[in-house]
C-alpha cells in the first residue's frame, strides 16, 4: 500500500535504502491494472538501458555492440519473473546510475573526488543495496573516461569510497535493528528478509561489465561485419532472453494470480473463460472457479465439467502465507461468513514477509468491519485508503455509510451479507465445514450459495450419506429442476439398491442422466481401470469424480 502522506514518506525514507523503497512502492501501486504495471516495468527497464548506453559511451562505445546494452535490462526482466524481487531494487540501480551520470558532468577532478566520497554514504542512506556501484563506476571512469593517472588523488578517492562502503552499514547497525547482512544488501529489495537478493548483485556486476566492455572490444568494425554482428547479438538476446523468461516465470503461479485477480474484481465470467481455455488444477484456481460458478448460478450443474480436487478446491484450508488465504477469504465473504473472511484477510496481510500493508486487504477489512457494525475500526482503514490513488474515492464514499444502518442495510452487497452472516455464535472448525455451512444455510434459507457449497462439500468428499441427509434442506432454494450433479448423485445412490429402469427414483431425474448412468455403469463394472474411456465419455459427471477423482479433505 502506498500512501500519499508525510508520515508514510518519513517512515519509508528513514530506513537505509528508504528512498528506493518509497519510489518502488509508488510505482507498484500502478499494478492495480495489469497493463499499467507492465508499462511501468517496461519504462523502468528502458530507462536502465538508456543509462547503460550513456555509460558505455563514456567508456568508448562502438555502435556495433549496441544490443549488448539491453542485456542488463533483459536479465532484470528475468529476475522480476520472481515476483519476490521488489521493484525498489530496479529503482535503486536506476538511481545509482543516474548519480554516476550526473557526476560525469563535473569537469573538476577535485570536486569529483569530493562528490564520490561524500555521495557514497548519502547513496547508502537513500538507496543502500548496491550503492557501492556508484563508487566503483566513479573510480573506473577516472581512469577510462577522464584518463587520469593512478596517483595520490585517485587513491584517496578509492580509499575514501571503500571506507564509506564498508562503514556505512556498520554505522547504521547502531541505529537500525536489522542483521548486518541485510544492512549490507538492502532491506526492501527481496520480499523474504531471510533470503539475500544476490540476483541484484549479479545484475550490478553485469552492468559494470557491459559498461566497460567497449574498452576491450575492437574500436572499429568492418561495414560488412557490422550488420551481421548486430543481428547476431539481437538473435542471441531474443532467443536467450525469451528462453530464460519463459522458463523462469512460474506460469502456474501466474495462472493462480490471474484467477485471484478476477475474483477480487468480481469478474466471474472472466474466471470461467480462463477455465474454459485451460482447465485449472491447482486448488486455489479451482476454488476461484467454483466461486465464479456459484456466483453465476452454475455451480451445482457444472462443477464436475471441470477438474475438481476435493474439498480443498472448494474452500482451501488456511495456510499462513500472504497469498493463499485471499481467495478463501473471498469465498467466505460471499458466503456471508464475515468473521472468517476478515480473519483470513488479516492473516494474509500479517503474513507479508517484508511487513508491508496491503490496500486490497485494508479494503476488505473496512468492508467486513462495516458489515459487522464496527464502524470505528472500519473508519480507521477507510481514512488510510483515502490517501491512496485507486481506493481514495471508494473510501470517501464508504465513510458516508458509517453509522447509517438503513443505508448499509439497503446496500446490494453489504446489506445482503448482513442478512446472510451467522446470527448465533459458535467456534469455527475447519474440520467441520459441512456443519458450519449447514448452520449458515439454516439461519438464512435465502443463502443459496451456502446450500450449494454444503452439497458440494459432501459430493467432493464423496460422503454420499451426508449428501443424502442434507439434500432435502434445499427444497425451498428455488430450483426449477434438480441440478445435474445432484441428479447424478441421487440416481447413483438409488442405483445401489434399485435398478433405475425397473424402479423409478423418487426424484425428477432427467432421462438423459438415467441413460448416461446406464451406459456408465456396465463399463465401470466390467473394468474398473477403464478410466480413460470413462473420462472421455463421462468426465463431466459426478460418477467419474466419485470413482476416480481425488477427495482430499
Amino acid at each position: 500500500m502506498f500512501l500519499f502522506t508525510k508520515d508514510y514518506f518519513i517512515d519509508r525514507v528513514s530506513l537505509p535504502g528508504g528512498l528506493a523503497i518509497y519510489l518502488g512502492n509508488f510505482f507498484v501501486q500502478f499494478f492495480y491494472y495489469a497493463w499499467l504495471g507492465a508499462l511501468v516495468i517496461a519504462f523502468l527497464l528502458v530507462l536502465l538501458q538508456r543509462e547503460i548506453v550513456w555509460l558505455t559511451k563514456k567508456f568508448g562505445f562502438n555502435n556495433a555492440y549496441y544490443p549488448l546494452t539491453l542485456l542488463p535490462s533483459i536479465v532484470y526482466w528475468v529476475l522480476l519473473c520472481d515476483e519476490n524481487y521488489m521493484l525498489s531494487g530496479l529503482l535503486l540501480l536506476i538511481m545509482v546510475l543516474a548519480m554516476v551520470i550526473i557526476c560525469t558532468t563535473i569537469p573538476s577532478r577535485s570536486i569529483r573526488l569530493i562528490f564520490t566520497i561524500v555521495l557514497t554514504p548519502v547513496l547508502y542512506i537513500l538507496c543502500s543495496g548496491c550503492f557501492w556501484l556508484f563508487a566503483l563506476f566513479m573510480i573506473l571512469l577516472e581512469i577510462f573516461y577522464w584518463d587520469q593517472k593512478i596517483d595520490i588523488r585517485w587513491w584517496i578517492m578509492v580509499l575514501g569510497s571503500v571506507l564509506f562502503v564498508i562503514c556505512s552499514p556498520i554505522v547504521s547497525k547502531n541505529f537500525y535493528q536489522y542483521p548486518l547482512e541485510r544492512l549490507w544488501l538492502g532491506i526492501g529489495f527481496y520480499r523474504f528478509p531471510n533470503i539475500s537478493p544476490y540476483g541484484e548483485i549479479i545484475i550490478c556486476l553485469l552492468t559494470v561489465a557491459i559498461s566497460i566492455l567497449p574498452r576491450f572490444l575492437p574500436k572499429t568494425v568492418l561495414l560488412k561485419k557490422y550488420f551481421a554482428l548486430i543481428a547476431f547479438q539481437v538473435l542471441v538476446l531474443v532467443i536467450g532472453g525469451g528462453y530464460f523468461i519463459k522458463n523462469t516465470a512460474d506460469w502456474d503461479k501466474e495462472e493462480i494470480m490471474g484467477y485471484d485477480h478476477h475474483v477480487r474484481m468480481q469478474e466471474w465470467d472472466k474466471v470461467i473463460a480462463m477455465a474454459d481455455k485451460k482447465v485449472p488444477t491447482a486448488p486455489m484456481s479451482v476454488a476461484c472457479l467454483n466461486l465464479a460458478l456459484s456466483k453465476t448460478g452454475q455451480l451445482a450443474d457444472k462443477m464436475f465439467c471441470y477438474y475438481q480436487n476435493g474439498v480443498q478446491g472448494l474452500i482451501p484450508p488456511f495456510e499462513s502465507d500472504f497469498t493463499s488465504p485471499l481467495p478463501t477469504s473471498e469465498i467466505y465473504y460471499h458466503l456471508g461468513m464475515i468473521n472468517s473472511s476478515q480473519r483470513l484477510v488479516f492473516e494474509a496481510m500479517e503474513s507479508i514477509p517484508d511487513y508491508q500493508k496491503s490496500a486490497r486487504c485494508y479494503k476488505r477489512l473496512a468492508e467486513t468491519n462495516l458489515i459487522n457494525g464496527q464502524y470505528k475500526v472500519a473508519a480507521k482503514y477507510l481514512r488510510a485508503l483515502q490517501h491512496t490513488l485507486f481506493y481514495s474515492d471508494w473510501a470517501t464514499e464508504t465513510l458516508t455509510f458509517l453509522n447509517n444502518e438503513s443505508r448499509i442495510n439497503a446496500h446490494p452487497e453489504w446489506g445482503q451479507l448482513r442478512q446472510l452472516r451467522y446470527k448465533d455464535d459458535f467456534l469455527y472448525s475447519e474440520d467441520q465445514l459441512d456443519v458450519m455451512l449447514e448452520i449458515l444455510f439454516k439461519q438464512n434459507k435465502s443463502n443459496r450459495m451456502a446450500y450449494e457449497y454444503l452439497m458440494a462439500c459432501t459430493l467432493l468428499s464423496k460422503n454420499l450419506d451426508r449428501f443424502f441427509n442434507y439434500y432435502p434442506l434445499g427444497k425451498d432454494v428455488g430450483y426449477q429442476q434438480i441440478p445435474k450433479s445432484y441428479q447424478e448423485a441421487l440416481l447413483f445412490i438409488w442405483s445401489l439398491k434399485h435398478h433405475p429402469l425397473k424402479e423409478r427414483a423418487p426424484w425428477p431425474i432427467s432421462e438423459q442422466v438415467t441413460e448416461r448412468l446406464l451406459e456408465y455403469a456396465p463399463i465401470y463394472m466390467q473394468d474398473k481401470s477403464a478410466e480413460p474411456i470413462l473420462k472421455e465419455r463421462f468426465g463431466d459427471t459426478y460418477w467419474y469424480y466419485l470413482h476416480f477423482g481425488t477427495k482430499k479433505l
Binding site: P179, N194, S320, Q374, V377, K380, D425, L427, Y428
Partner: protein, 489 residues
C-alpha cells in the same frame, strides 16, 4: 533608508493586524465541554507528563485558541491551527501547579466566528510517576504475526525507543517482558520461533535460557518477579486459539493445560510445587509486595474447547518462604469465581501491599478479546472488591501494572474503536480514590493513533531507562547456545 523604514512599519502593522484578526473576539459561549480527542477533561496527571496535546477530529475549524491557566499561577496560550504546547512551558506550568489543577479554555473559530467552550480542569497530582513505560507493539491479529517489538516510552516526552524489534532476528516473536517492581536491572523476556529462548538480564548480566523441561508442560510463559529478585514465578501453558463466527467476538484463547513454577536464577533451578501443578488450570502468578505470598488464578479443568465458556478463574494464594524456596501446604481462595460467576485474570498486587488489581470477565483468561472485561480492585485489608468504574468503559479493559509508588497504574483499553489497544494511566490516592484515566499523550494524538497499525501490549512502568544491549541480544539469540533450566528435586 526612509523607504525602508516605511516598508518595515507597514510590515509590522500588517503582522499586528493579522495577529489581531487571529485573536478570540466576541466568542459565543457553548455550555458544554469541547469535543476534544483524547478526552482529557477532568483527568489527573503527574507533574512530569509530556504535554497533553489534543485535537478535534469531528470538527472543521479555521483556528483554535487554548488558554491553560494554573490555579497556583502561570498560564500557556496557544493560538493556531492545532493545539501543540511547548514542552518547556508545559513542564514549568505543571511543576508550579503540582497538587492543584489547571483550567483549560478552548475556543474554535468556525466560519469566521469564535465559539468558546466550557472550561475544563486537568488535575496535577502530587504523586510522582516513574521514568517511563515499556510495552510491546504488535498488530491485533490472530495466529500470524508481522512486525513487532518491545519499546520504551519516556513519560516526560513523546520519545519512544525500540528495545528489541523482530527485524533484528527474522521471524522472531517476543512477548512477556517483565521487570522487578519497575526496576529494569532485573528483566525477563521470551523469544519464540526457531531461535526461541527466555532472555534474562540481571544487573547487566544476560543469559539465554531454554525453559523447556520434560517435567513441565512447556516453556515459561507469564512472568512475575519476586521483590528480592531471587525468584521469578512463571506459568507454563498449553494454549490454543479458536475463532468466533458471529460478529461480536473474534478470538478466544484457551489453555488446554497450565501450571505454575518458580524459577531461581542463581541456581538455574525450577521449583514445581505439587499444589500448583494439579489437573486444574493454574496461571498468572504474582508475588505479594513482601514476597511471602504467591497469588495466582485457578480454574477447574474443563473439556476444551467444548466447555470454554465454563472455565472461570478464581483468585487464589499460597504462602511462600523466600529463605528456602518452599511453599505452604494449602491454597486460599481470595475471590471465588463460583460465587461471583465471573473469571479473574492478571492479578497485580500493588507494591505498597494494599491492593490487588485484576481483570474480570465473563469467562476464560485471555481478557483482551472480551469486550466485557473490566478492572477491579481487591482491598487486601478487608477483602472487599470493587469495580473500578472510574476507569472502565463499554469495551475491553485488560492488562495493567502499577507504578513503583503504587499511586499510578497503566492499563490496556480498547475503548477507542474496539480493536486497537491503547494505554491509559490513572492515579489512586492514599484513600483509594481513583482518578479519570488519560490516554498516553502523543504529539499529534489523533493522527498518531489513527495511523498506527499496532496494539499496545503488556504495559509496565520502568523507573529508569532499560539497558538491554541489542548487539548482545542478537548474538545470543542467533547463537542457539542456551542455558538449560533444571527441575529442583
Amino acid at each position: 533608508m526612509k523607504i525602508m523604514k516605511q516598508i518595515l512599519s507597514l510590515l509590522l502593522i500588517g503582522i499586528a493586524m493579522i495577529s489581531c484578526n487571529n485573536q478570540v473576539q466576541s466568542p459565543s459561549k457553548i455550555d458544554k465541554f469541547p469535543p476534544i480527542y483524547p478526552d482529557y477533561v477532568g483527568v489527573t496527571v503527574p507533574a512530569t507528563i509530556a504535554p497533553l496535546n489534543f485535537s478535534f477530529p469531528d470538527e472543521t475549524f479555521d483556528r483554535v485558541d487554548v488558554v491553560v491557566k494554573g490555579k497556583k499561577g502561570n498560564e500557556i496560550h496557544v493560538n493556531g491551527d492545532a493545539v501543540s504546547f511547548s514542552s518547556s512551558e508545559w513542564k514549568s506550568l505543571l511543576e508550579s501547579n503540582k497538587g492543584d489543577s489547571l483550567l483549560i479554555t478552548v475556543c474554535l473559530k468556525q466560519n469566521g466566528n469564535w465559539k468558546q467552550y466550557k472550561s475544563f480542569p486537568i488535575y496535577i497530582s502530587k504523586y510522582p510517576i516513574d521514568y517511563g513505560l515499556v510495552y510491546r507493539l504488535v498488530a491485533p491479529g490472530y495466529e500470524v504475526y508481522s512486525k513487532m517489538g518491545i519499546y520504551q516510552r519516556e513519560l516526560a516526552s513523546y520519545k519512544q525507543t525500540a528495545l528489541y524489534e523482530n527485524t533484528l532476528v527474522t521471524g522472531s516473536c517476543v512477548n512477556c517482558h517483565s521487570f522487578n517492581k519497575t526496576n529494569s536491572d532485573h528483566s525477563s523476556l521470551h523469544l519464540r520461533g526457531s531461535n526461541g529462548a527466555t532472555y534474562m538480564n540481571i544487573n547487566g548480566k544476560a543469559e539465554f535460557l531454554n525453559t523447556k523441561t520434560d517435567k513441565t508442560i512447556g516453556s515459561f510463559v507469564y512472568p512475575y518477579w519476586h521483590p528480592t529478585g531471587k525468584y521469578v514465578a512463571y506459568s507454563v501453558n498449553k494454549t490454543r486459539q479458536v475463532f468466533h463466527v458471529a460478529k461480536d467476538k473474534r478470538i478466544e484463547v484457551v489453555d488446554l493445560e497450565s501450571d505454575i513454577i518458580v524459577y531461581q536464577p542463581e541456581t538455574k533451578q525450577v521449583l514445581t510445587p505439587d499444589l500448583l501443578k494439579t489437573a486444574s488450570f493454574e496461571t498468572f502468578p504474582a508475588f505479594s509486595a513482601d514476597g511471602r505470598t504467591l497469588y495466582f488464578c485457578s480454574a477447574e479443568k474443563k473439556e476444551m474447547t467444548k466447555e470454554y465458556k465454563d472455565v472461570k478463574y478464581s483468585l487464589c494464594s499460597i504462602s511462600f518462604n523466600p529463605e528456602n524456596g518452599t511453599f505452604g501446604d494449602h491454597i486460599d481462595t481470595l475471590v471465588s469465581a463460583n460465587k461471583i460467576n465471573k473469571s479473574i485474570s492478571f492479578p497485580r498486587p500493588s507494591y505498597d501491599g494494599k491492593y490487588i488489581m485484576f481483570t474480570l470477565s465473563d469467562y476464560g483468561n485471555f481478557s483482551i478479546w472480551h469486550k466485557e472485561a473490566d478492572l477491579w480492585l481487591l482491598n487486601l485489608a478487608d477483602g472487599s472488591i470493587k469495580d473500578l468504574k472510574e476507569v472502565n468503559s463499554d469495551d475491553t479493559e485488560s492488562y495493567h501494572n502499577w507504578s513503583s509508588n503504587s499511586h499510578w497504574f497503566v492499563f490496556s483499553s480498547r475503548r477507542d474503536g474496539g480493536l486497537y489497544t491503547r494505554l491509559y494511566i490513572a492515579s489512586i490516592d492514599d484513600k483509594g480514590k481513583v482518578s479519570k484515566p488519560f490516554l498516553l499523550p502523543q504529539e499529534d494524538p489523533f493522527r498518531y493513533y489513527d495511523q498506527s497499525v499496532y496494539s499496545y501490549n503488556v504495559p509496565d512502568f520502568v523507573s529508569s531507562p532499560v539497558k538491554w544491549d541489542v548487539k548482545e541480544m542478537e548474538k545470543g539469540i542467533t547463537s542457539k547456545e542456551r542455558t538449560q533450566v533444571k527441575i529442583k528435586k
